[in-house]
Amino acid sequence: MKRLAIPKTYKLYIGGKFPRSESGRVYEVLSHTGDFLANAAKGSRKDARDAVVAARGALGVWAGATAYNRGQVLYRIAELLEGRRAQFIAEIMSCEGVNAAGAGAQVDEAIDRWVWYAGWADKYVQVAGNANPVSGPFFNLSVPEPTGVVAIIAPQGDESLLGLVSAIAPAVVAGNTVVVVANENAPLSAISLAEVLATSDVPGGVINIVTGSPAEIAPWLASHADVNALDLVGAGDLDWVELQISAADTLKRVLPPESGADAAAPALSRILAFTELKTIWHTKAIL
């Protein structure tokens, strides 16, 4: 007799916990053939704001962690993702309608992306900062620091897991904390990734994942005064110019939508986009 399977309840990931949406709403996630897969939580404005609070709360710990530590935590994510490779392949196949080889390639690339960014944790400061030879008795040093809380609209196209990882990893490797709105149509891998994150030594609140409608949630994040930056990489289908205008009220740093196969490609500039350069002048004694 065939065993009756236990389906998973897909919830949000906020502050290291898995709450349902406070709104009580869910929406149906369908397979590429239109079959019911799951009820995902339909995140609300309040959920997004709770996520910002969690992200702000986690910022001190995460930004203050050593670069070596952050690098190891990101590498740990890759390790655990590798271990759950089969689960992600199955979810991606059902959601995105790709074959096992295609789904496997996507998961592999997502794992490799975590590893690539993990390696940057203790290097981007060296590459992007420098000592400045000022005319005077000063030791003058410029170093990049995390911008703060970054709100991300994850890529909404194919390759839901890879798109999500490509957007999150560069922001968090620098020490930012993030609130990410997942791929609306293919949110399952985002929540499964949250399970990986929850067991990867990522402090609660560093990465917060909200599923639901980006069109509904994004405006609240764009105008939120405690959000420092906005990555619109997956917002191409939204009225993203309005989001950018709204973000201007608190002078958020904004990355525009990207499209095509090259969207959110791994790049040092994606890390640096959410850093701030601090320059310190230290007086030297005159001997």
Binding site: L30, H32, E96, D112, R113, W116, V127, A128, N130, N132, P133, V134, S135, G136, F138, N140, S142, P155, Q156, G157, S160, N183, E184, N185, A186, N228, G234, G236, D237, W240, V241, Q244, I245, A247, A248, D249, T250, L251, V254, P256, P257, E258, S259, G260, A261, D262, A263, A265, P266, A267, S269, R270, E276, L277, K278, T279, I280, W281, H282, T283
Partner: protein, 509 residues
């Protein structure tokens, strides 16, 4: 004149040869503006210096066209070393005409001649000299090999350091291979127009730099012009917000250098007399018309009274008056409008319960003046602790622990500058780590250098000026064919979706 008082020592204006009217500098020549001309006045006397042209929309369009033409036809084709040679020439010409520029700056802006002569103009020359050397070394700017220039840069600058802000904008733009349309502030156009004459002497190709004058409407037209590729603005946070909104959805690259409310933190082990000098330099330099001014003094409680006593004593020795006098410390407030704002905020400080004290100095009969002023007993909620006053007004708060100092320093939407005064290096490093500000001065304040990046966190803007990072603000990565593999990921090269082109990425299913 009292015993041991200073005799007047005014700098001569004889070396100035000003015209009565100035036009717009477009495509290498001065041309009459089509808007209504306005007078630029000496804020120390309220006397007219010259008439300045106003660029209307057609003039802005002509300037942008000239810059585009020069970009396509000349400047983008020139070798980096030749661009550098032009910038070296400009640096030398500024040095040669330094005194003349300093006198003109002081006349038009109201700042003391000792500052325009010893700070502003030397930094202008240094800025061009520094970026001149970058022009043929762009591979090392930090945006990957063979970086590309952006095109036409629209630059709008404030009135507090008129020629210095011009240099901060133009030097990196030209070094990176862009052409420029620059609009100086309405009240301080004069030295930008003298600078245009220097460009003629340097034989810079026509249209590479265009200088258009006018008020905020001219600036608005310029930054919104569809023909510009880069917008660089220094000024108020409210205008910066408006610009950020207006360039939203376009491909224009934006740098904003906006307001500040810098904390100057004095710990109990600081060398107090040096700290007092630093406090004075932090807030009374350039009449406090400094975006990175140390306008909030945070003093450790145990030394609060001592620091305030010594500060008041020091402030009594500040000499306010004729900006052209070489002994003047505090010059004129730049405009009646700014003076009104300083007065309004200071009055508000008193109404909200802070204790006001001003140095006892004689205020000249004409012109715009404000005596150096401090407020004690200031609470973090007071407007004088939150709003940028942009004048010689210091708000004093106290703290007990480093943690409290950090919390108070960061309790502002701004994040441009901060100062730390302590004899203990480890404390300075720890506190500097926690301050959310782009420039931090340890046991010094208001230092500037072309090799040192400058710019803010949070609502003080984004982008950096100065140093390698200031150069990168005018460059983009080389265009390469798309490959998303990690090994090829030297830099970020995907195509952003533009509001006007590209249908947005299609959502799945």
């Amino acid at each position: 004149m009292k015993f041991l008082d200073y005799a007047p020592a005014p700098e001569s204006q004889a070396l100035l040869d000003l015209k009565s009217d100035y036009g717009l500098f477009i495509n290498g020549d001065f041309t009459a503006g089509r808007g209504t001309p306005f007078a630029t006045i000496n804020p120390a006397t309220e006397q007219r210096i010259a008439m300045i042209a106003t660029a209307n929309e057609a003039d802005v369009d002509a300037a942008v066209s000239a810059a585009r033409h020069a970009y396509d036809g000349v400047w983008s084709r020139l070798s980096g070393s030749d661009r550098g040679k032009y910038l070296f020439r400009i640096a030398r010409l500024v040095q040669e005409r330094a005194r003349e520029l300093a006198v003109a700056e002081t006349l038009d802006n109201g700042k003391p001649i000792k500052e325009s002569r010893d700070v502003d103009i030397p930094l202008v020359a240094a800025w061009f000299f520094y970026y001149a050397g970058w022009a043929d070394k762009l591979d090392h700017a930090g945006v990957g090999p063979n970086p590309a220039s952006l095109g036409v840069a629209a630059q709008v600058i404030p009135w507090n350091f008129p020629l210095m802000m011009l240099a901060w904008k133009i030097a990196p733009a030209l070094a990176a291979g862009n052409t420029v349309v620059l609009k100086p502030a309405e009240t301080t156009s004069l030295t930008a127009l003298l600078f245009a004459e220097i460009l003629q002497q340097a034989d810079l190709p026509a249209g590479v730099v265009n200088i258009i004058t006018g008020d905020g409407r001219t600036g608005h037209t310029l930054v919104n012009h569809p023909g510009v590729n880069k917008v660089a603005f220094t000024g108020s946070t409210s205008v910066g917000r408006a610009i950020a909104r207006s360039v939203a959805g376009t491909d224009k690259k934006l740098s904003l250098e906006l307001g500040g409310k810098g904390a100057n933190i004095v710990f109990d082990d600081a060398p107090i007399d040096q700290a007092v000098e630093g406090i004075v330099r932090g807030i009374f330099f350039n009449q406090g018309h400094v975006c990175c001014a140390g306008s909030r003094l945070l003093v450790q409680e145990s030394i609060h009274d001592d620091v305030i006593d010594r500060l008041k004593r020091r402030m009594q020795t500040l000499r306010l008056g004729d900006p052209l006098d070489k002994n003047t410390d505090i010059g004129a407030i730049n405009s009646a409008e700014q003076l009104a704002r300083i007065r309004e905020l200071s009055d508000r400080g008193q109404q909200e319960g802070a204790e006001r004290w001003s140095a006892d100095c004689e205020i000249p009969a004409n012109g715009f003046w404000f005596a150096p002023t401090i407020f004690t007993n200031v609470a973090t909620s007071h407007r004088i602790a939150r709003d940028e006053i942009f004048g010689p007004v210091l708000s004093v708060l106290s703290f007990r622990t480093p943690a409290e100092a950090i919390a108070k320093a960061n309790n502002t939407p701004y994040g441009l500058s901060a100062g730390i005064w302590s004899d203990k290096g480890s404390r300075i490093l720890a506190v500097a780590d926690k301050l959310r500000a782009g420039v931090i001065w340890a046991n010094t304040f208001n230092q500037f250098d072309p090799s040192s990046p400058f710019g803010g966190y949070k609502e003080s803007g984004y982008g950096r000026e100065g140093g390698r990072h200031g150069l990168a603000a005018y460059l983009k990565p080389a265009v390469r064919s798309g490959a998303r593999s990690i090994s090829a990921a030297a830099d970020h090269t995907t195509t952003p979706v533009s509001k006007k082109s590209a249908p947005a990425q299609k959502a799945a299913k």
